[in-house]
Structures are given as C-alpha cells and as structure tokens.
C-alpha cells in the first residue's frame, strides 16, 4: 500500500502526540513511584507489624459498631408487633451507614494530618532536612510525596470498612453512590486538613511542629462545628457546603452553582474548590518546608494568587450576579483586604539576593532604583485593573449604563490604589526600622488594623451617633488623614443612608474642594515614609558588578592586618 506524504505527516503527528502523552504519563508515574519521600514513607509505614495490628484493631471496632447497631434494631423488631419490618430495616441501614461514616470521619480527619505533620517534624527532629535541601528534590515534590503516601494510607483505612458497609445493601436504603460520595468527601477533606497540617508544621523551625499542626486541625474541625457550613472549599467558587463534619453539597445531589454565568454541578464545584485549597496549602507548605524563615510566597506566586483571586471574583459576579453599580466598591473591599495581606507578606522584608526581583534588576539596569515591593504592588494593581475592567464590561450594570459603572469603578480603583501605596510605604518604613521581620510584620499589621478598620469604624459610629450627615466629602474634610482610606468610603457607600440620600452618587462630586488637600497630603505622607525608610536602610548592595578573582594557589593572600599584628609582636619581643 502506498501512503501519501500527507498521510505520513498525519501518522507522524499522531505518533508524536502519543509519544508526548506517553511521556507525560511516564513522568507522572515517576513522580509518584520514584518520589523518594513517597517510597520512604510507604516502606516505613508498611514495614513491621504496626500496620497489620492497627488495621485488625480498626476493622474489629467497625465490626463491633455494626454488630451493636444491628443488635439494637433486631431487638426493636423483636419487641415490635408490626408485621412490615421493611421501615425498621431501612432505618437500620441508614444508622449503620451514619455510624460508620462518623467513626471513619473522625478517624480519617485526625489521622491524616497527624501523619503528614509528623513527616515534617521528624525530619526537623532528626536534623535530616539539610540533606534534602542540598539535593535536587524540589520542595513541592516533598509535599506531594508526603501527601500522596498519607492519602494512600487513608484510602486503605476507608476501603477496609467496605465489607462492613456492604451489609447496608442487604437491607436497602443506601446506594453505592452514597458510599462513593462519603468516601470521596472524606478523602478530599482529609487531604485538605493534611495539607493544612503540613503547612503549619513547615512554619516551625524545630520540633513541636506536629503539635501545632494537630491543634490547627482540631481548631478547624471545632470551628466548622460551630460555624456550620462556613469553612467549605466551595466558598471559593461562591457556594456553601453541606453539614459540619462533611461540608460537601455533593452529598445532596442535584445542586448547581454558576461560574462565569455557566451552571456547573456541585460535584465539580466541590472537587474543584477542594483541589484549589489543597494546591494553595501545598504551595504555602512548599515555600517553607526547606526554609522555615522564607516569605509565605515568592513574588510570582503572590502575583498568580492575586490574579486567581480576581478571576474568582469575576467568576462569581459575572453577568447578572452584579445587580447595581453601587455594589462595585463593596466587592472591591475583598481586593483591598487581599492587597493589604500581600503588603504584609511582601513589604515587611528586606532585600533578598537571588530572588526574582533581584534577577530582574540584575538584567534591567533601569529597575535598580525602584524598591522591589513597589514593583510588586504596581504589578498587582495592574492585574486588578486588567481583570477588573474585563469583568466590569461583562456585568449587567455596565451593559445598562456604562458611564456610571465605569465612573464608580475608576474612582474605587483610584482610591484603593492610593491607600495601597500608602500602606506599602508604611510597611516599608517598619521593615527598615524594626529589629526583625516579625516585628515589622506585627507593627504593620497593627497599624493597618488601627488606621483602616478601628479608627474609621469609631469615627463613623461617632458621626452617626452625633447625627452628622455622613456625606463622604464632609467626612473627608473632618478626618484629614483617615478620610482618604477607602474603608471609610466603602463603609459609607455600603450603608443605606448614603446611597438613598445621594441616589446616582459619584465620588468626585462629593469630594469637591477638599480633594487637592487629601491627595496632596497622601502624596506627602507617602514620600515622607519612603524617605525615612530609605534613610535608615542604605541602598542595598546588590553586587551586580563583576569582581576580580583571587587565585590563592597562584598568589597567596595575607590580610594586611596580619602583617601589622606580626610587626607589633616582633617590636614587643625586641623591646
């Protein structure tokens, strides 16, 4: 058979695609099978009698519980005079499933985090972490290996109860999909808590990291019991969860949520939200696992996370979800808080050689004079502007009245940008003046709370108590420094009083004459802080320039001070 060149090219393309996919599969296989942490943990856990004994004990407890539940219901049936026993049988099936799910839940939610936290803390206690740091093993591979080995163990724990759970099929009422949903939810939740525990244990430099992680997990579980349906992964995608212990809406099938205006199944929302949380916690953990003193995120990770958060906001309030243009500042509060968190993360540390900004500065001479945290903040504001504008043009208020929506968006962006730069300068100031990074973080955090939350709230309540008309312009003239904090405006805008009073309100119309004073004062303060920060911290020594080598085997080096010391010794001996 003769094949044409076109067929050959098509075949080559197919085989290339296959080889690429086969290569990807092989690499993913290597990632798991040849991950040293994964292998070591499996070997360690599966070796000896410990696992066997634990599993026998666990199955024994489960069988005991199942026996007890069945016994109670059988006794009830024997006492009852009802002819139709099917309702009791169905109730027995439900109870059996619930009890086993609860026991499994408690066990799995505690065991997973304890194991993962212990993996990190044992490395620290044994002083073996340094060895791993100098290998080419990436921190994320460590996290992946630790999580994957733990999840395999958790899966084993869940599957061991399957024979006991299958008793419920005899009596009806429980379907295989219920068991799949229960197992899936527990596995996802356990992975989230394990990733959280891993991150917490990475934060501590030395031992006791496992205890901290355990406290964190217990805290989360208890908090979830108290604040039902609050701490759920689906919050990220705009939904709410199910129950306290199993906060997944997928347990109640048929639910849907809207993402970018498209309805998607609650199952996918649960899984997607969980994976996002796991990825975020793993990222945070991998930043600190080898270097506990590292910043929580590196620059590009911070930017990616910020962009992701903006996309999440856009996904939630896409199309008709945004009902009024006056809601724009209220939604922007989330971004403002995120910007403050980013400032705390990035602006409270000093110059670090070798990071991404250092590399940029090394490459582009014109960037060397600009503070690295300012570069980061400007990049985040740029991302916000691009994604925010894109989102805005796809919302109902914009499509109804573009100029009003655009005006409110512009003003909100401007005010928050000014406040962000102000906060950035403040954090930079503390970073240079405080004795350590921790102190700078604490001072910045306290000042943010004081300036942007506590004082505005007190003042606004005072104004309201004194029954002073709360127009933003008046607030500004009275409060000078604090008046420019967007929190004040957003608070006022969010209140019915102002919105009702001002109707088609726009910032600039109210800001009127005091605007130049506010802007001038903000700029002055900004530069004042920046100047003080620079004054204390001399220009960082980046060492970009090439230095001469000192070849010691060709020309020995002796410090000049050594000669003078020897001369002094000789003089002393002679005298």
């Amino acid at each position: 058979m003769v094949t044409s060149p076109a067929d050959e090219a098509a075949q080559a393309a197919v085989s290339k695609r296959r080889s690429v996919s086969a290569n990807l599969v092989a690499r993913f296989g290597d990632l798991i099978v040849d991950n040293p942490i994964f292998l070591r943990e499996l070997r360690r856990r599966m070796r000896g009698k410990a696992l066997f004994t634990a599993m026998i004990g666990y199955i024994g407890v489960m069988a005991g519980v199942a026996f007890f539940v069945v016994l109670v219901h059988v006794l009830e049936m024997m006492r009852s005079s009802a002819v139709n026993i099917m309702p009791t049988m169905s109730r027995m099936s439900d109870n059996l499933f619930s009890w086993i799910a609860i026991i499994q839940g408690i066990l799995v939610l505690l065991v997973g985090p304890i194991i993962t936290a212990n993996i990190v803390s044992s490395e620290k206690d044994r002083h073996t972490l340094e060895f791993l740091q100098v290998t080419t093993l990436r921190p994320w591979q460590f996290i992946f290996g630790a999580l994957a080995s733990t999840m395999l163990y958790i899966l084993l724990v869940l599957l061991c109860a399957l024979p006991i759970l299958s008793i419920t099929f005899l009596f009806g009422g429980i379907s295989p999909s219920d068991i799949t949903a229960s197992f899936g939810s527990l596995l996802l939740l356990s992975t989230i808590l394990s990733a959280g525990a891993l991150w917490i244990s990475c934060l501590r430099e030395r031992a006791r990291s496992a205890q901290s992680a355990l406290l964190f997990v217990i805290g989360i579980i208890l908090l979830n019991f108290v604040l039902l349906r609050i701490l759920t992964p689906r919050m990220l995608l705009g939904g709410m969860g199910g129950s306290a212990l199993l906060p997944f809406s997928s347990l109640a099938p048929g639910g849907q949520i809207n993402i970018f205006g498209q309805p998607i199944s609650a199952w996918w929302a649960d899984i997607g939200g969980s994976l996002l949380v796991i990825a975020l916690l793993s990222l945070l953990g991998s930043r600190r696992v080898f270097h506990p003193l590292n910043r929580a995120l590196c620059y590009w990770e911070g930017l990616s996370l910020f962009a992701l958060a903006q996309l999440a906001i856009a996904a939630q309030f896409w199309g008709t979800r945004l009902t009024a243009a006056t809601d724009i500042p209220r939604i922007a509060v989330g971004t403002w808080v995120l910007l403050l968190v980013m400032i705390l993360v990035f602006n409270t540390s000093r110059v670090e050689l070798g990071n991404e900004i250092w590399r940029l500065k090394r490459r582009f001479r014109f960037l060397r004079g600009i503070d690295e945290s300012v570069l980061q903040i400007l990049a985040m504001l740029g991302i916000w502007w691009i994604i925010g504008r894109w989102w805005l043009t796809n919302t109902a208020p914009y499509l109804a009245d573009a100029s009003t929506a655009q005006g409110i968006w512009n003003e909100t962006f401007l005010f928050i940008s000014i406040a962000t730069l102000f906060a950035c300068a403040l954090a930079r100031f503390f970073a240079q003046w405080a004795s350590s990074r921790g102190a700078a973080l604490r001072w910045s955090f306290l000042s943010f709370i004081l300036l942007f939350i506590a004082l505005p709230v007190v003042i606004i309540f005072s104004i309201k108590a004194l029954d002073i008309p709360a127009a933003p312009g008046e607030v500004m003239t009275r409060l000078s420094l604090l008046a420019h904090t967007p929190w004040v405006y957003l608070w006022e805008l969010a209140g019915d009083h102002v919105i009702r009073e001002l109707g088609g309100y726009r910032f600039r119309t109210s800001a009127n004459d005091s605007a130049p004073i506010i802007w001038g004062g903000s700029a002055l303060l900004l530069f004042g802080f920046a100047w003080m920060a620079n004054r204390r911290h001399p220009r960082p020594e980046y060492h970009f320039e090439r230095r001469e080598e000192r070849r010691i085997s060709e020309t020995p080096y002796v410090h000049p001070e050594v000669f003078s010391r020897l001369r002094a010794m000789q003089d002393e001996a002679e005298s």
């Binding site: 044994r126 100098v134 290998t135 050689l353 004795s435 020995p556």
Partner: protein
C-alpha cells in the same frame, strides 16, 4: 572551580562573614581553618545554597549559587558537621533514597550504590539497618550519601568530628582516596594535624574575615619572610664561634643559640642553604644534625589568629 566574590553574611548585629573573596582551583584540597564561630560553617552553608548571603556571590563549576542553585546542587556534595540519619532504613535504602532525590535513574542506582559502598568500605553492611551502625560507620555512610551523585566538589564541614582515633584515621584515608579521584574538596576543621596531611591549600578565617589563604609554604614565606635551619653541633662550647661565623655571612639574617643548638634565619631569596654546612665544617665545627625547619600549620595558625571569637 569555586570562585567566591565578596561574600558577606549579616545576622542582625553580627557579621558572620565579611567580604570573603578567593578562588579554589579544580583538584585542590582546601583546608578551611578557624576557631569556633569564625564563619567556616556559614561559608560552607552559603556555598551549599542553604543560606542566602547578604551581599556578594559565589560560583561553583561556573554556576552561580544565587541564580543557578539547582545546577550548583548537582555538582556539590555537602556533609554537615552535625547530622542525623534515617534509622529505620536499611543502608542500601538510605542511599537509594538520596539517589532518587538526586534524580538518578532507577536502573543506574543499584550499580552506583554498590560502588559508593565499596569506596566507603560498607559493602558488608548493605542490608543492615542504619540504626545498627557505629558512629564511624554512620559518618562513612553520610560520606557515601554525599558521593552518590558523583559530585565534582565536596563541601565537608568537620567530617571527623566526634570520631574515635581509629575512625578518624579511616576517615582520613577515605578523604585521601577522594583526592586521588580528582575531586575538589573544601574541608573545614579545627584539628590542624588532620588537615596538614592532605591539604594543598589552606584558608584561615577569624571573626568572619579571611586572614590568609594559599599554599601552606607560600603563606609561611609571606609571614615569616625567612627560612629557618636547625643545626645541632657536637660541642656546645663552639656555639658562640658558630654564631660569629654565620652571622656575618651573606644571606644569614639571624642566629639564635640554645645550648648546642643553633637556629639560623636565612633570607627568603636565598635558595641554597648548604653553605652553612660548608662554613661550619671548614672551621672545625662538627655538626650532628642539620635540617631546615618544616612549615607547621599550627605555627601559622597561632601566628595569624588572635584567638578571638564572635
């Protein structure tokens, strides 16, 4: 091979390392000497990419420690002064673990493990648990782990600390083997005799500052500015006569008498010292021993350092 340029490390109010600049050639065995707290471990940790410098940078095999840490990790083998091991693993599993961490292909790992076990004389212990090994064996296992990815540069921070004399000698022999393999080694220690044997270059550091670096003899020449010859004469009464004969001779800068022993200081530019023997014997002074005093690492160390710690 190791080019350090202006390396500085500042911890709050403490300068652990101050503008360290030096280049160590390929194949050199560099002994890094200094009192406790001098900055040896900080230097090694910075080179091993474990600690970020406050200023300056270094290149190992042409790779920058700041911009190419992954490449640096591939070419270095690091052994810290204090370390732990995974007790619940077998010796081969331990090495296999690090082989996987260095992304060595699974098929090649078995052969490499056998090789490094043979080099470190641990072949018989291959299937034993790590916890069953003695301290010296654990130290050798740690060195085996350091060699598993065949690094070109070894950064060894006090590799023989805490070992008994026998294990110390075994470790020294192992390091000599590594020298034969052509590895570049930076080894820190404050036991000078340990280094004197096999280091061709040394660096002395104190309070974070490099005081001297280079070949031992070359440093000594720079410091002393003279060579020394120790002579023992048969008759102590002739000592003053010998002193008078030598002191006026060209090239001799000083003579000290101690009983029947003379310490003759000769100008560093003077290459041939046999004239001393000639002058003394032709004048009837009988010599029982004649030797040029060897350069002593301890002597250099004591001369250069003040004994101050940070």
């Amino acid at each position: 091979m190791i080019a350090i340029k202006g390396l500085t490390k500042q911890y709050k109010n403490l300068t652990a390392l101050k503008d360290l600049t030096m280049t160590i050639n390929q194949g050199d065995i560099f002994g890094y000497i200094g009192p406790n707290g001098a900055g040896k471990t900080t230097t090694i940790k910075i080179l091993a990419t474990l600690v970020t410098p406050t200023a300056g940078h270094a290149e190992i095999c042409g790779y920058n420690i700041l911009t190419q840490p992954d490449e640096v990790k591939r070419v270095i083998g690091y052994m810290p002064d204090f370390f732990g091991v995974y007790d619940d693993m077998k010796v081969w599993e331990y090495l296999d673990f690090f082989g996987a961490a260095y992304k060595i292909e699974k098929t090649k790992r078995r052969k490499i493990i056998d090789d490094v076990l043979e080099l470190t004389d641990l072949t018989e212990k291959k299937n034993d648990f790590v916890e069953a090994l003695s301290r010296g064996m654990k130290q050798r296992l740690c060195l085996a782990k350091t060699l598993v990815h065949d690094p070109q540069v070894l950064l060894l921070d006090e590799p023989a600390s805490g070992l008994d004399p026998r294990a110390r000698i075994e470790m020294r022999e192992l390091l000599k083997e590594l020298r034969k393999l052509g590895k570049t080694v930076l080894i820190s220690s404050h036991i000078l005799t340990e280094l004197a044997d096999f280091c061709n270059t040394i660096g002395i550091i104190e309070k974070g500052e490099l005081l001297a670096a280079g070949e031992v003899n070359a440093i000594m020449e720079q410091i002393k500015g003279a060579r020394h010859v120790e002579i023992t004469i048969r008759d102590a009464d002739n000592a003053s006569k010998a002193h008078d004969l030598l002191i006026g001779h060209e090239g001799v800068t000083g003579v000290q008498i101690d009983g029947n022993q003379l310490m003759v200081e000769i100008d560093i530019t003077c290459e041939d010292v046999s004239f001393i023997n000639e002058v003394l014997t032709t004048n009837g002074i009988r010599i029982t021993s004649f030797k040029e005093s060897e350069v002593d690492l301890e002597d250099i160390f004591m001369k250069i350092t003040k004994g101050a710690v940070q």
